[in-house]
Symmetry: C2
């Protein structure tokens, strides 16, 4: 059911199509995060209206609540969430370790951890992660890796990388056992912390395995130059023909930079989480830039009486219908609609930006577009 086709290349940047059992994803694509099988505060109808091709849910969260068996009984992620287009799930590796680090114990077989909901004890192994992701039923799933603190020292990172590689091999074996109907596709994950040689080793190893698609993990974006250099180096060892996802990355600058390295898909909670805190993304024509991180706070009192839309150069439902004054009021009054409207706008911002990125790669204007957004080469 899975395939990836490159449509057009411009330097390393490329456009393409990921085909899945639930339809196509036009790449480069931003994938909104639907942690617990819902992009917080939006209906799937609204997500469709914005025009997304795919969303990503978290295995860790769904395993704990409502449980993978429950999701399976309810018909799988797509049916349960009424999102009938492609879906990703991550492997749970990141959340297991990041949400309760002090209470998680790693051995070569897997990870013991405690639930962030009720403190109950659980264990994930590569096999378990594959079984859970099979039950959840997303089209695109990830192998189980160990997400290490990016600041871990060389020895710790090297040791962890060996374990991650073993886990990913086991993930692949288990995946092939489960995926007899060919419904799902599996992403391998390149790790290696902040060490160029380990990233290279990992890229070569992951590229040598029979994954459907590839991804790069534990890139947290800071310092930007170091992260960029690590990804750039790893990309050299990954086969061009496979689609590549960058896990958890999603600032405007990052997306432009990593698209130019040939990354195809990006998931990030930034757009949605910031929306719920009242941070509104702003297009470059409206003054969004790297310095203000392409956003501003609508909760500022200066917007109380503003008749302007969130962004004068945005054509989303929110900007066509509501004023900054109203949305400022909704946030002050703690109205649920504040979350819905801000999330809708922020996601539209990213959707539109990706549309422009794809078009610019197709028509040869990507470098100019990047310059327009980032005001530098």
């Amino acid at each position: 059911m899975f395939s990836f086709t490159i449509n057009k290349k411009l330097g390393q940047a490329r456009t393409g199509i990921i085909k899945t059992a639930h339809g196509d994803i036009r790449t480069p694509a931003f994938i909104p995060v639907a942690t617990k099988a819902t992009v917080k505060s939006l209906t799937p109808k609204q997500l469709n209206e914005i025009g997304f091709d795919a969303i990503l849910s978290n295995t860790y969260h769904l395993y704990l609540q409502p449980g993978a068996d429950v999701v399976e009984k309810l018909g799988g992620l797509q049916k349960v969430s009424a999102w009938h287009k492609p879906m990703f799930t991550d492997s749970g590796g990141f959340q297991v370790m990041s949400l309760n680090e002090s209470l998680c114990k790693v051995d070569d077989e897997g990870v013991d951890f405690r639930s962030c909901i009720d403190d109950s004890k659980h264990r994930f192994t590569p096999e378990k992660s594959m079984q859970i992701q099979r039950k959840l039923g997303a089209d695109l799933i990830f192998s189980f890796d160990q997400c290490l603190d990016i600041n871990a020292d060389y020895e710790t990172t090297k040791e962890s990388l060996a374990r991650t590689h073993a886990w990913e091999e086991r993930s692949l074996v288990e995946f092939k056992k489960l995926n007899i109907d060919n419904k799902q596709a599996l992403y391998g994950i390149v790790q290696g912390g902040r060490f160029k040689d380990l990233r290279e080793e990992s890229a070569k190893f992951i590229a040598s395995l029979d994954f459907d698609a590839l991804s790069i993990g534990s890139i947290f974006g800071d310092p930007k130059e170091e992260s960029f250099a690590l990804v750039k180096h790893a990309m050299k060892f990954l086969p061009e023909e496979k689609t590549k996802h960058l896990l958890g990355i999603g600032t405007v600058e990052d997306i432009f930079n990593y698209v130019s390295l040939g990354l195809d898909t990006f998931d990030c909670v930034l757009a949605t989480r910031l929306a719920r805190q009242g941070s509104i993304f702003l297009r470059p024509e409206s003054g969004g830039n790297e310095e203000n991180k392409f956003r501003y706070r609508i909760t500022n009192v200066k917007f109380k009486e503003s008749l302007e839309p969130l962004d004068n150069n945005c054509e989303c439902y929110v900007c066509k219908n509501f004023s900054q004054g109203y949305i400022n009021h909704l946030f002050k009054a703690k109205e649920i609609l504040s979350n819905t409207l801000a999330t809708y706008h922020n996601l539209y911002f990213f959707k539109k930006m990706m549309d422009e990125i794809r078009e610019s790669i197709e028509d040869g204007g990507f470098v100019e577009l990047k310059k327009k957004w980032l005001e530098r080469n």
Copy 2:
């Protein structure tokens, strides 16, 4: 801009059309409450999709936040909320007294009260309420009354009624001064507590004034027979040709009963407030009845794995797309979407019921419809 036309009568029940500057309201109608210029958790687009003709906002809440001047500067309630159909505002009289009763001081001129937001001091008079409602700009507004505890004794109620009548006369005088462009219409309010003779006195007095429309206030529905008898008695003294609103009433049983007395419009927070608590309205074909109050709790663990919709006999967006299992999960996970989906469904339930009520009055089947819903005469 305002008119009311009766289309069809069946006993005292009737269908009609309220015309306003922002369009028509088909009556009998249920008016969802948009306290702070938003029906909590829904976009105006979703409200339109459900099919409502009008919503009602609260003067007290909007006066405190964001302020009537701010709403006016933002273009008035309809523009600010992007609800371009008819809107009501209440007078603030009920909230002034119910939200902070111990801190509110009534004299013949008006009411001193403290803000439920920051405890700041404020004063409402009939004139002030009219001025605020003018700034808010709803099509249909209410005169300023004193809402007394329904259990107040005869002497207290009689004294309060005299004051209410004086306040309503002053409301009318101020309204006529402000409404020179004829944009708004004013509802008088019948009070009189739980005393038949005071309700009669009030109905006669309010009917004698030049209000565009009429309403009955401080009917809290319990005990039902007593409330019903009071409204029934008051209705005898109100002119047939004016449209009549019943303030704050909105159970299924109440709506059927009061429609049969000739009431045209109803506002109530029940459908929306209960939705956010996980109470789901259920049609009679699906087992909704007076005993279960036409609702059930979706948060019950028994729905965890249910593939059924919220109501098998409902055709709303939620019931066509989502399972009880998913909505149970959303409530357990405290996801915002739980509120949106439950509110959407509950409001659709009331909208559909009102459609059926109007049709049944038009085609002579209202008594049968009422029997079907309430299983008694």
